[in-house]
């Protein structure tokens, strides 16, 4: 009898922690880059539903944090200093496995809706993306300045009003991709929070890729660089020749 009792108790207690299920849906799974690509607005819809076997309607208040992470890359942060009257890049720090794109959207200030422990564990902060630093001087804040540079480019963003609740249980988030968003796989993670504690999470994804002529050119430049270069030269010679013919007087 005893093992069965333990099993029953275990089910009850784990079930108690799963009172809510998070259901999310992105409005598209592919972002296609063609000649007229000017960036793209994606929308993530989400609802909070009763957990499996639950009949009670979930009651909040709930908070949601959405993170969007682009393909990882390695970046250098360089600093200029004045040497003999001339500004020169003198030192640099290298950041490995850094997202090329990162947005953290929430329905309130992170410090108000998430406990510091959860925020640290999930790495919500922009600064948490720059964890693998190598090189550089110890007295220079490369991370902070790299975050500022990435934010200026529109690649990093923290928006405490990026998630909006339409009702107590229905929310949506607008993901704004700029035109220079790097192609690749993007991961969208949605975190459901109640009383500053994490109670559910869900991951979605989408890919950004070039299509048609843009894709053809990008691939040709990488895979057939000699032919690509020759084609560029022929195009230039042809354009120059045509210009001369058209305008010959």
């Amino acid at each position: 009898m005893k093992p069965l009792l333990w099993l029953l108790m275990a089910l009850v207690f784990t079930g108690a922690g799963k009172a809510e299920t998070l259901v999310t849906q992105l409005n598209r799974s592919d972002v296609e880059i063609a000649a007229d690509f000017r960036g793209q607005m994606l929308t993530l819809f989400g609802t909070i539903e009763p957990g499996p076997g639950e009949t009670l309607v979930p009651t909040g208040p709930y908070h949601v944090v959405v993170t969007v992470t682009g393909p990882l890359q390695t970046r250098l942060a360089r600093r200029k200093t004045n040497q003999f009257g001339i500004w020169i890049n003198t030192d640099e720090a290298r950041f490995e496995s850094l997202p090329s794109f990162y947005q953290v959207l929430s329905d309130g200030k992170l410090e108000d809706i998430v406990s510091p422990a959860v925020a640290a564990e999930k790495g919500f902060a922009l600064s948490a993306q720059l964890h693998q630093r190598a090189g550089g001087r110890s007295d220079v804040d490369y991370s902070g300045n790299l975050i500022r540079l990435m934010s200026d480019k529109g690649l990093y963003r923290a928006d405490p009003a990026g998630v909006q609740f339409r009702s107590d249980l229905l929310f949506f988030a607008g993901l704004d991709l700029p035109s220079d968003a790097p192609p690749g796989s993007y991961i969208v993670k949605t975190y459901l929070l109640k009383d500053r504690a994490l109670i559910a999470e869900h991951a979605d994804g989408f890919s950004v890729r070039k299509i048609g002529f843009e894709r053809f050119l990008g691939q040709a430049a990488r895979q057939q660089p000699w032919l690509y270069g020759l084609a560029a030269v022929l195009l230039a010679l042809g354009t120059g020749w045509l210009g001369g013919v058209v305008f010959r007087r």
Binding site: L76, R79, G85, R215, L217, A232, T239, G240, W241, F247
Partner: protein, 310 residues
């Protein structure tokens, strides 16, 4: 109308690009230079990555110089024999230039070298041209006629070995200074993304004493061949030639150059040279200031990719 540039991986306004190509093309047609020294900095300033700007402008310079070279060819004003020596040496120099470009980009000193290079090169050429052309203008004002052709004095390198006869240019000179000139132009041109016409033309005139009717045509042919080779080299080594970007600039540049060339007929040679000198000096000063003035942002960032630092 926005257009997505597949290699630069960003979207830019089509009319802005064509217009910029046209404005620079007008100046290049007016002065008979490729315009790379204006276009490369303008693109970098507009947000195009420096490597893509240099490599794509290289393609645009080919187009800008082709129509000019063809029209000089039809008039028989090209010394192909002399040009073949210049071209082979400059393609060789371009190999080193593109290699140095990659090495400097990886070490983070490319911007510095480009700025210093433009400052020294444009500064010295601009000042020389300005003094020469102002002198000619003043002499004309004073009523004394400028010498029709340069005095046929001998330079020290006329004593060098491997003398060759260049029939069309009516020259019998050593090929060594010709090859050295080509090598230097190839290196500097591929490194800075410029055709080097504004260095080559004075060098042909004052150093090699090439007759005036052969100078521009020969220089243009050399620029076309050298920049064509550099375009391929950049495409292979850094894969940063953006054909769409280059094409937008070419279309604007080719049209602009025609208007510039016809506008040039209303100005005298020394006036043109004085204006070009002022333009060249202005660009040099602009680069000098970026070196000396406190930058808006002392921090910058670059991506490390499989092929090197972008």
């Amino acid at each position: 109308m926005q257009i997505y540039l597949p290699i630069a991986e960003l979207s830019m306004n089509l009319f802005f690009l064509v217009g910029m190509g046209g404005a620079v093309g007008f100046l290049s047609g007016l002065f008979g230079v490729g315009g790379g020294f204006l276009l490369t900095p303008l693109l970098i300033f507009s947000g195009v990555p420096a490597s893509v700007a240099v490599a794509s402008v290289t393609g645009q310079v080919v187009a800008a110089s082709t129509s000019g070279a063809l029209s000089y060819y039809r008039r028989g004003q090209i010394d192909l024999h002399l040009a073949s020596y210049l071209i082979s040496a400059s393609v060789f120099g371009a190999f080193f230039g593109v290699w140095a470009f990659q090495a400097l980009r990886a070490s983070g000193q490319l911007d510095l070298v480009i700025s210093v290079g433009f400052l020294v090169l444009l500064g010295s050429v601009g000042s020389l041209m300005l003094t020469e052309s102002l002198g000619a203008i003043l002499r004309r004002r004073a009523g004394t006629l400028a010498p029709g052709h340069l005095p046929n004095q001998h330079n020290w390198f006329h004593g060098l070995p491997f003398r060759t006869r260049f029939k069309k240019s009516k020259l019998y000179i050593s090929v060594l200074p010709v090859l050295a000139l080509g090598l230097g132009i190839g290196f500097v041109g591929s490194l800075l993304g410029i055709g080097g016409g504004f260095i080559l033309v004075p060098a042909l005139v004052y150093l090699l004493r090439v007759p005036g009717n052969m100078v521009i045509g020969t220089s243009l042919v050399q620029v076309v061949a050298m920049m064509a080779a550099t375009t391929v080299l950049h495409a292979v080594s850094s894969q940063s030639v953006d054909i769409l970007l280059a094409f937008c600039l070419m279309v604007g540049g080719t049209v602009g150059a025609q208007f510039g060339a016809s506008a040039g007929k209303y100005l005298r040679g020394e006036q043109l040279r004085a204006l070009l000198a002022l333009l060249v000096l202005a660009v040099a000063i602009r680069f000098g200031l970026t070196l000396v003035l406190t930058p808006n942002d002392v921090f910058s960032t670059a991506v490390v990719a499989a092929g090197g630092v972008i």
